[in-house]
């Protein structure tokens, strides 16, 4: 493998044959490489899930459209939801946690590197299993391929009698497998944070990023596992003739709903808490102020984690629970708004009086703040059970949760990408393309999801394949679909930015943002061993202490 076989690459270190390189990536146990694998696979599935969303939007563009058949439409919204939650949002957040936590707490790697690799491949092959259903799903029955029963697969729709063939089996197995991956990663994150902190990094000096991911990992242990248990039950029903969700043998369809949403609602917080973590790192740096109310931020996060475990049945107000249950879940759901509001005030308090720099990460962060607030407000509306009886299962709900997931989670993720891309690759993302990306996505987002509330209020149910022209929903749906295409365009700008900047971007250096946490103290991208010397910290902002020895934070903490 001498270098004269390969054309001389300028200025690079020894060029390895691509097979070697590929082999190293496939067998890696390094937390940075696994983090990147998580992120890249999630971006791939983001594009796939995005195409599915576009198919849905084209079909709904005007009444009586025939772009796809009703069967394909059902598959599209099922696959879109499942893909985006389990194979985009979870992996990308796990990937960033994987990459950043050891760097932020001054560790060499995660606590269990091989478990880390195992968890990633479980999640990745889980995703492949889901998509293999397009080929193998019809089984012997010829009954349609990909799963088409919605991302929550309500009983008895998921039972053998109503989902013949193997489409639901692929859905179940895929979520079971990737769920085990999630549990492995969560255990790894907890063990890393509790056991591998560098000297001096007490729990109350950890970056909020580590704190919030610790809480998130704790939630994964308690919230993802009920889904795994329910999937095992569904498999027993489908393969061993069990009766868990078989109403004809006395089983209960409602029990499946409870089990699904005991997972499903905390899942939203599993996804949003890491986004709070991004905000808590990015907003201080671009406001040039330390985070406002560090202990309160931690307390509010733990509080959210606890309360969010007891709100699940607000997804089930319309099934006819008794008035005590309705009142209880209304109250707990509204109670979650309090710690969340505290967080928003803390971020605003951080920005208040700061010298704010409107770089791309900060633009996305500010977008996050506004949109997450609005998403929270419609959430409070939906939490009132009488209001929910009117609008449950309508496009109002679809608009609400896309406001959380796109307006909140995705905006926070874009902020994180622009902020940490230089650390991961050594190159800055282009600010120019970044601003295009931000404004296009912002316009597309609001065009789609602001308008989407209206057909919901007018009575348009979710998951319908088409609608009558006399309803007067045509114009609104057309605007929504146009917005979707603008968002798709913005994503293409983003992908172009990722690729172009990787080769042509400005060199980042160790610390392009003049930040304060440990990951910026080492080279970009970091060496495989992370820290040549194990760092010792004495405050929450170790790099500030290093840059300002005359006035270190440690003097005031």
């Amino acid at each position: 493998m001498s270098s004269n076989v390969i054309t001389v690459s300028v200025g690079q270190t020894d060029a390895k044959p691509w097979v070697d390189e590929l082999h190293q990536w496939l067998t890696t146990v390094d937390h940075k490489r696994l983090g990147i694998l998580y992120v890249v696979s999630a971006l791939m599935f983001l594009l796939i899930g995005g195409v599915e969303a576009l198919v849905i939007r084209v079909q709904l563009m005007h009444s009586h459209n025939n772009f796809v058949s009703p069967e394909v439409f059902n598959r599209m919204f099922t696959m879109h939801g499942t893909t985006m939650i389990f194979f985009v949002a979870m992996p990308v957040l796990f990937g960033l946690a994987n990459y950043l936590i050891p760097l932020m707490i001054g560790a060499r790697d995660m606590a269990f590197p091989r478990l880390n690799a195992f968890s990633f491949w479980l999640s990745f092959f889980g995703a492949l299993l889901l998509y293999f259903s397009f080929l193998g799903g019809s089984g012997l029955y010829g009954a349609g391929n990909a799963p088409d029963v919605g991302w929550w697969s309500y009983a008895p729709l998921g039972a053998r009698a109503f989902s013949p063939g193997h489409s639901s089996d692929y859905w179940t197995l895929s979520l079971l497998v990737s769920g085990f991956g999630s549990i492995g990663t969560a255990i790894n994150i907890i063990a890393t944070i509790l056991c591998l902190r560098c000297p001096g990094m007490k729990l109350n000096r950890m970056p909020l990023f580590a704190w919030l991911n610790l809480v998130m990992a704790g939630m994964v242990l308690i919230a993802i596992t009920p889904l795994s248990a329910a999937q095992i039950m569904l498999l027993i029903d489908r393969y061993l003739g069990g009766h868990f969700f078989d109403t004809q043998a006395g089983g209960s369809a409602v029990l499946w709903m409870h089990f699904f949403w005991i997972f499903g609602h905390p899942e939203v917080y599993v996804l949003i808490i890491p986004c709070f973590a991004f905000m808590s790192e990015i907003i201080p740096v671009f406001s040039r102020k330390p985070i406002f109310g560090y202990p309160v931020m931690v307390a509010a996060t733990v509080c959210i984690a606890f309360v969010s475990m007891s709100v699940w049945a607000h997804h089930m107000f319309t099934i006819g629970m008794n008035s005590y249950a309705n009142s209880f879940f209304t109250l707990t759901t509204m109670a979650v708004g309090v710690p969340t509001g505290i967080k928003i005030f803390n971020w605003i308090g951080t920005m208040w009086g700061g010298r704010i720099q409107f770089k791309t990460p900060m633009l996305f962060s500010i977008g996050f703040l506004f949109q997450f607030l609005i998403a929270g407000l419609t959430g409070i509306m939906m939490a009132a059970s009488p209001f929910d009886w009117q609008l449950s299962l309508s496009y109002f709900v679809v608009a609400h949760f896309h406001y959380v997931i796109v307006g909140g989670i995705l905006f926070a993720l874009f902020a994180a990408f622009y902020y940490w891309y230089p650390k991961m690759t050594g190159r800055m993302l282009s600010e120019g393309l970044g601003k295009w990306h931000f404004w296009l996505f912002l316009i597309g987002f609001h065009l789609t999801f602001d308008v989407m509330h209206v057909p919901g209020i007018l009575g348009m149910p979710r998951r319908i394949y088409t609608y009558e022209p006399s309803r007067g929903w045509d114009t609104l749906n057309f605007i929504i679909s146009v917005g979707a295409f603008i968002q798709a365009l913005a994503i293409l700008v983003f992908v172009a930015n990722l690729i172009v900047s990787y080769f042509k971007g400005d060199k980042a250096g160790n610390d392009p943002w003049d930040a304060w946490t440990l990951e910026w103290s080492i080279s970009s991208p970091p060496a495989p061993y992370n820290f040549a010397m194990v760092p010792t910290v004495a405050s929450r902002r170790p790099l500030w202490d290093e840059k300002h020895p005359e006035d270190p934070d440690s003097r005031y903490e």
Binding site: C195, I232, I236, G242, A249, T536
Partner: protein, 198 residues
């Protein structure tokens, strides 16, 4: 290290962090507890809702002897781990093998009970709701006992070839945590299935 951090006024005190093995096992136990909780909830929710027989009262008999076996195996594994921590490998091995024997006895008891239920009473996982929830819950626990036994046997093989010493004490304690958890789950399952739910 201390020479190059003169700017920090407070010297760093002794740095002691918990063992990653124990933290990870505690995490796994939390996750497993959630899974068992869901199966227990399903069992309790469906008590008395079966459309056909047999019912728990008709067919279940509390496996008291085998329960005593499993619960005492918690004590023996604890003693084994203690002896290993003090470096007495012979006593460790003796108690370790005793633990395996007790765990194996428990599984044998479950197998016997299932055989009786299936062949004498015709109760299978697809007979009625009781069958579905009973075999799932007890089976899930039995699966965990089996997984634990496999790990115990692997350690025993290493121990018999003289490769388990005081150095491995920490890891043995982590495995013992898992085994205690499996026993604790059985306390819950036994109480709910064989005592209260009958």
């Amino acid at each position: 290290m201390s020479a190059e951090t003169p700017s920090f006024p407070n010297p760093v005190p002794a740095w002691d962090l918990p063992s990653r093995g124990k933290v990870a096992m505690a995490g796994l136990i939390v996750a497993e507890s959630a899974i068992f909780t869901i199966f227990v909830v399903a069992y309790l929710f469906y008590l008395g809702k079966s459309m056909t027989g047999p019912t728990p009262r008709e067919v279940l008999e509390p496996p008291i002897f085998y329960t005593i076996c499993l619960l005492s195996s918690s004590l023996t594994i604890h003693l084994a781990a203690k002896f290993l921590a003090r470096g007495i490998t012979f006593a460790f091995l003796a108690f370790w093998l005793l633990t395996i024997a007790l765990g194996g006895l428990f599984l044998y008891g479950t197998a016997q009970e299932w055989q009786r239920l299936i062949y004498e009473h015709g109760l299978t996982i697809s007979t009625n709701l009781f069958g579905t929830t009973y075999y799932s819950l007890v089976g899930l626990h039995g699966f965990h006992v089996t997984a634990g036994l496999i790990m115990l046997v692997v350690v025993a093989l290493f121990g018999l070839s003289g490769r388990v010493g005081i150095k491995q004490s920490g890891r043995i304690e982590v495995l013992a945590m898992y085994w205690h958890f499996v026993d604790a789950v059985w306390v819950v399952v036994f109480t709910l299935v064989y005592v209260l739910g009958r």
